[in-house]
């Protein structure tokens, strides 16, 4: 630590005592017992195992099949290296597995994650409930991240309403939030389309997505010749993998359809109340 912060550091060290930290559990409740009774009530044994993911050292840029044992159930998974495939989780609710892009895994689990509570509270900048990082201008985003920031160049979408940058992914993660557009309904929080980009590096951070539930449909697609997936029909959860190889569950409060695809060394993701055709048109315009 630079010497110039010496005094500030001393002050901060002592300052912790002055802060009104809440006690765990609050009045008359005990956090540990609450958690335990919740887990017992839900019979929430760890739901699935993706241990195999860790031993998988590299994920090529090409879509590949893979399979794993999930919880007690054996599993099948389905994916051709090229071409189109459709999968309905409802058709085989005992089946789980994952599909991968570089830097992205999509895990299918037998039961859906609990629905995200709708955002509430006073009005804030569009998308601020999505924990996307700090609101910035496009220029600032470009300065903050280590790659050229791309965005959809399609008149129907126009400019993003708010741009966010987050360091939660190494190299930076940029998110662009769009409010209602002609032909694209907005969701409860006002967001119609979310476009996210980050650099996926092998052996580094992996964005992992679990999808679940009846009606989840996953389709392999190509965007400008590069592999991607179109996922529709169910809320989902994200899991980020840290540089230490640990997976961190994380949930994003948006439950639209999702297109996720590769673009050179970036992984791009487009989410919202979009039809597949709309999503592919927007994705194809990204530059």
């Amino acid at each position: 630590m630079a010497e110039r912060f010496e005094q500030l550091e001393r002050v901060l060290g002592a300052f912790g005592r002055a802060i009104d930290f809440p006690a765990a559990g609050g009045a008359g409740t005990d956090l540990a017992s609450s958690v335990a009774s919740r887990l017992r009530a839900e019979r929430a044994v760890p739901r699935f195992s993706v241990r195999g993911l860790r031993s998988r050292r590299t994920l090529g840029p090409v879509v590949r099949p893979a399979w794993h044992t999930v919880a007690a159930a054996s599993l099948v998974i389905l994916l051709a290296a090229a071409g189109t495939l459709s999968f309905s989780a409802s058709a085989r609710d005992a089946v789980a597995g994952w599909l991968g892009l570089r830097g992205v895994h999509i895990t299918i689990v037998p039961s859906p994650p609990p629905p995200s509570p709708p955002p509430s509270g006073p009005s804030t900048p569009l998308g601020s409930d999505l924990a996307l990082g700090q609101a910035v201008t496009l220029e600032q985003a470009q300065q903050l991240v280590g790659y050229r920031v791309l965005r959809p160049a399609i008149a129907a979408l126009g400019q993003p309403d708010v741009v966010y940058e987050s360091s939660s992914v190494e190299g930076g993660l940029v998110s662009m939030v769009y409010g209602a557009r002609r032909g694209i309904a907005r969701q409860a929080d006002g967001v119609a389309v979310l476009f996210v980009e980050f650099r996926a590096r092998l052996e580094r951070r992996v964005l992992l997505e679990k999808f679940a539930g009846p009606g989840t449909t996953i389709e392999a697609v190509r965007v400008n010749g590069e592999p991607g997936f179109w996922l529709s029909g169910a809320p989902h959860e994200l899991v980020f993998r840290g540089p230490d190889g640990q997976d961190i569950p994380e949930s994003l409060r948006l439950a639209g359809n999702v297109l996720v695809w590769e673009h050179r060394d970036l992984v791009l993701r487009l989410e919202g109340n979009l039809t597949k055709a709309q999503a592919l048109r927007i994705a194809g315009s990204v530059r």
């Binding site: 195992s49 640990q246 569950p249």
Partner: protein
């Protein structure tokens, strides 16, 4: 529980096999720092719920937890993510607060710390209204920066733990901390400047009143 308390890794192993009691023990071990972490990110309104939800999520993700890794920073990372997701109208609700007793000036400590304080913003932060000013500046920081400060100075995590809890390489913890401190100082400087402008303004008003009077 009899005998020596079990190691975290042992409790994790038991919990992974479905032993909720073992997991409850882990929760008890880390609930305090979990709630504090959530509080630093999301404020008092969300702290308990965020911590509870994070413990539940961590339980479900235990299968993906690497046995040789320490449990606490992994947990904190989940807590922080959950808290960030819950932070709703951040600026208005997510602030840290001072303890009632601490809001009053703790003369002895402040005097000692303020000795060499003369013109620096840190020094100013230690003067009469220093604590309010400092907490306001901390509250203006991004939650990520507040976390860095809390982990380092309040919860006293090691650099390795900070790296794991923040999800960054150990080598960048120092530089990230420096940047967070630089932003904190810049905020303190701004608020000090604003104060001075305010004082001058008030001073000017008073002289005008004097002239009018």
């Amino acid at each position: 529980m009899e005998g020596r308390p079990l190691e975290d890794t042992e409790l994790v192993r038991l919990a992974r096999r479905g032993d909720v009691g073992a997991y409850e023990e882990l929760v008890r071990r880390y609930q305090e720092i979990a709630v504090r972490t959530a509080y630093v990110v999301a404020g008092a309104a969300e702290a308990q719920d965020a911590a509870q939800e994070a413990f539940v999520k961590a339980y479900r993700a235990l299968d993906r937890f690497r046995d040789d890794a320490p449990f606490r920073p992994w947990l904190l990372r989940i807590v922080a993510n959950e808290a960030i997701n819950r932070r709703r109208s951040a600026r208005r609700q997510a602030g840290l607060a001072l303890r009632a007793a601490a809001a009053a000036v703790d003369g002895a400590a402040e005097g000692r710390l303020a000795d060499d304080a003369a013109p620096s913003p840190e020094g100013a932060a230690l003067a009469q209204e220093g604590r309010r000013e400092l907490i306001a500046a901390i509250n203006e920081l991004r939650p990520e920066d507040r976390l860095l400060i809390a982990y380092r100075y309040w919860f006293e995590l090691t650099e390795a733990e900070m790296a794991a809890a923040l999800g960054c390489p150990t080598g960048t913890v120092k530089s990230r901390s420096s940047r967070a401190l630089a932003r904190l100082r810049a905020t303190l400087e701004r608020s000090r400047d604003a104060d001075e402008v305010g004082r001058e303004h008030r001073g000017a008003l008073r002289s005008e009143e004097a002239i009018d009077g």
